[in-house]
Symmetry: C2
Subunit: 106 residues, 2 copies
């Protein structure tokens, strides 16, 4: 079933003080920066609210996929990866939790 498993960088942004400003910056400025990360194969973001049965501190989710954990590591250690990581402070004062996950299909 489905697509091939990939290494994922999951970024879970907490509720920002100004959601409209967050989304405006994210799509107009952060996406063009983050798209330059070498080895990035798939870049998906949440579309609409994150629903959680327990409630969640998270406002916005990002799934960046790479062919392997070594490709993910190399991408994030590159100048483009460092630029993307550094840009987060410019629009996400509430912070984000990052999960780096290698996956397999079951």
């Amino acid at each position: 079933m489905g697509s091939k498993p990939m290494a994922k960088l999951v970024v879970l942004y907490k509720h920002p003080p100004d959601p409209v400003a967050f989304e405006r910056y994210y799509f107009s400025t952060h996406v063009p920066i983050a798209r330059k990360v070498p080895g990035l194969k798939n870049f998906e973001v949440s579309n609409g609210p994150i629903v959680s049965p327990q409630g969640t501190p998270y406002f916005f989710a990002v799934f960046m996929s790479f062919d392997s954990m070594s490709a993910l590591d190399a991408g994030m250690r590159s100048p483009e990866g460092a630029a993307a990581a550094a840009d987060v402070a410019n629009f996400a004062p509430a912070g984000a939790d990052v999960l780096i996950v290698d996956t397999k299909s079951v």
Copy 2:
């Protein structure tokens, strides 16, 4: 770039008291139950430890993808979806956080 965006059910399991027993049950018993959820198109799980720059309470991550949020809802409301949700109590005493996320590619 990449595959089509999908609605995702993300399940983030917290560190279990007995990781070996958790994984044994998960793969031998829970996966066969969860694979029966109608509309499930892609079923990926973490392969190896979850890495987080901040540290994380999560031990194991699951990404179940559906064609749409309505397909995800219907799948989880089905008898098979209810059986999969009910089974979690059998192997995850430490609990799990669930995030339901519609996605788009950027």
